[in-house]
């Protein structure tokens, strides 16, 4: 009876897929939980904890994240070529994880965490199980949403140099994103939000500058312009 035979087969296949999904779900729940702890550590930056302590606490979770992703990779290695079949199951958690890594990295270095660096940190840089580009970009934009809050609180804590630096960073980031030709999708919508982050930081910088509180080393305007210059102009 071919019909019965065939469905016998289907049962096995679907069962496998269900089991796989359950296993993925378990790991994703852990990723979510780790990310939440990491976010909670980063929030200490607003509670007047010294930056090194905050970074230590935050970076302590990166190892766990990497372990989580390595388990995810193991699971998916059983079904080669199906990365994108299950991608939706861990997508949003990965975007969050990237945003936390990128914020930590920014706090530490003042630079953007690059795609391959993010992949490395999560153990996602082999060709079979990599960090999806759009997920990385969304994660970066999630991070930029946090920066206006950061700037405001830094100034309140007496760090008057912060707005200038963040403004420079966001301006570069904005210019970089403008190079991309985004479709009308989630990524595009998130990018439109970057404009508001930038505007808010400009306002904070203005508030500091007009009161003569900004440090004087720069003439940031010019500098900001110079740096952006090329990338902006090209196309």
């Amino acid at each position: 009876l071919p019909l019965e035979k065939q469905f016998e087969d289907f049962r096995a296949q679907l069962e496998d897929s269900v089991v796989l999904r359950e296993r993925i779900r378990a790991v994703v729940l852990e990723i979510e939980s780790t990310a939440r702890l990491m976010y909670s550590s980063l929030l200490l930056v607003y509670l007047s904890r010294p930056l090194p302590e905050v970074l230590d606490k935050s970076k302590a979770h990166i190892g766990t994240l990497k372990d989580n992703y390595s388990r995810l990779a193991d699971i998916l290695s059983e079904c080669p070529d199906q990365y994108y079949r299950y991608h939706g199951d861990w997508r949003s958690e990965t975007q969050t994880a990237v945003s936390l890594l990128a914020f930590t990295h920014y706090l530490e270095t003042g630079n953007l965490l690059l795609h391959n660096e993010a992949g490395e940190r999560l153990g996602l840089n082999n060709s079979q199980f990599g960090l999806d580009l759009e997920d990385y970009l969304v994660g970066v934009l999630f991070m930029s949403n946090e920066l206006p809050r950061y700037v405001v609180n830094q100034v309140t804590a007496g760090d008057y140099d912060c707005p200038r630096k963040v403004l420079k960073f966001l301006t570069e980031l904005n210019a970089a994103f403008r190079m991309l030709n985004l479709r009308n999708d989630f990524l595009r919508k998130k990018f439109d939000g970057l404009k508001y982050d930038l505007r808010r930081v400009e306002e904070v910088y203005y508030d500091v500058k007009i009161r003569g509180l900004a440090s004087d080393e720069d003439s940031t305007g010019d500098q900001r312009s110079k740096e952006i210059n090329d990338s902006e102009v090209v196309h």
Partner: protein, 254 residues
């Protein structure tokens, strides 16, 4: 088939009896739910009044205002929560939770707000529940506010604290505002970790977003005060880090 007939008759009458008893049970449950909903609405309305009373606070009338708030809050417990307990008596707290949850959440909001204003601390769930245990007669299990309603109420509390903070800044109580800010940031941070464990994480997520807005409103207000202060101190030619400028009764002679 006489036997059969008899059996059928029996069954049928037992069916009638059974449904008659089901009907009683359903009527009873619905009536009780209705009463609980009403008690909950009363708790909501009167807790809200307590919250408004707290917002009447100012630098100079703190004791007075809070005393009245505490008295009103006590009245909410004695009158309205007590009635809820009475209506719930003997029934399953969780089963009717949906019917009274809004009222209890508002009560949590009011009670924790009062406590914060009085002592700057968070009123614990245990303390709240301890204070309720006297309400029910000893033969019944006392009403215990459950952890979910407590947390949901706490989430709303942050909105009231935001209002309080903006008002305190206008009143020149900057340290108070700063204290609120820290307190709210801590609550926000702690609740962040609880979200996925709530029974209905989705509702909680919405509340978290509102809460973050509230936190940032306080932070922005503190920022405004700070940059102004930093501009004035040099202007005043004083290295004094104190900030006597803000606040109507703050020492500047108007």
């Amino acid at each position: 088939s006489a036997a059969k007939k008899t059996r059928t008759m029996t069954t049928q009458s037992s069916l009638k009896d059974a449904f008659s008893s089901y009907a009683d049970d359903l009527n009873h449950l619905n009536d009780k739910r209705e009463k609980v909903v009403k008690a909950s609405r009363d708790i909501t309305a009167n807790s809200k009044k307590v919250i408004f009373q707290v917002h009447r606070i100012s630098k100079s009338n703190k004791e007075e205002v809070l005393e009245k708030a505490h008295k009103d809050l006590a009245a909410v417990v004695d009158q309205y929560v007590a009635r809820l307990v009475k209506e719930l008596r003997g029934s399953d707290f969780w089963k009717l939770r949906r019917a009274y949850s809004p009222g209890i959440q508002e009560y949590v909001e009011a009670a924790t707000l009062c406590r914060f204003c009085k002592s700057g601390t968070l009123l614990n769930l245990e303390e709240m529940n301890a204070s309720l245990s006297s309400l029910s007669d000893p033969s019944h299990k006392p009403l215990q506010i459950n952890i979910l309603d407590y947390i949901l109420g706490l989430a709303d509390l942050t909105g009231e604290l935001m209002r309080l903070a903006i008002g305190r800044i206008s009143d020149g109580e900057l340290e108070y505002a700063q204290k609120i800010c820290t307190f709210v940031r801590e609550i926000h941070r702690e609740l962040t970790l609880l979200v996925p464990r709530m029974d209905e994480p989705y509702d909680m997520k919405t509340k978290m977003e509102t809460m973050l807005q509230s936190v940032m409103k306080i932070e922005n207000a503190c920022f405004g005060v700070h940059v102004r202060k930093s501009e004035y101190n040099p202007l005043l030619g004083s290295g004094d880090p104190s900030y006597p400028l803000m606040g109507v009764a703050g020492g500047i002679d108007l």
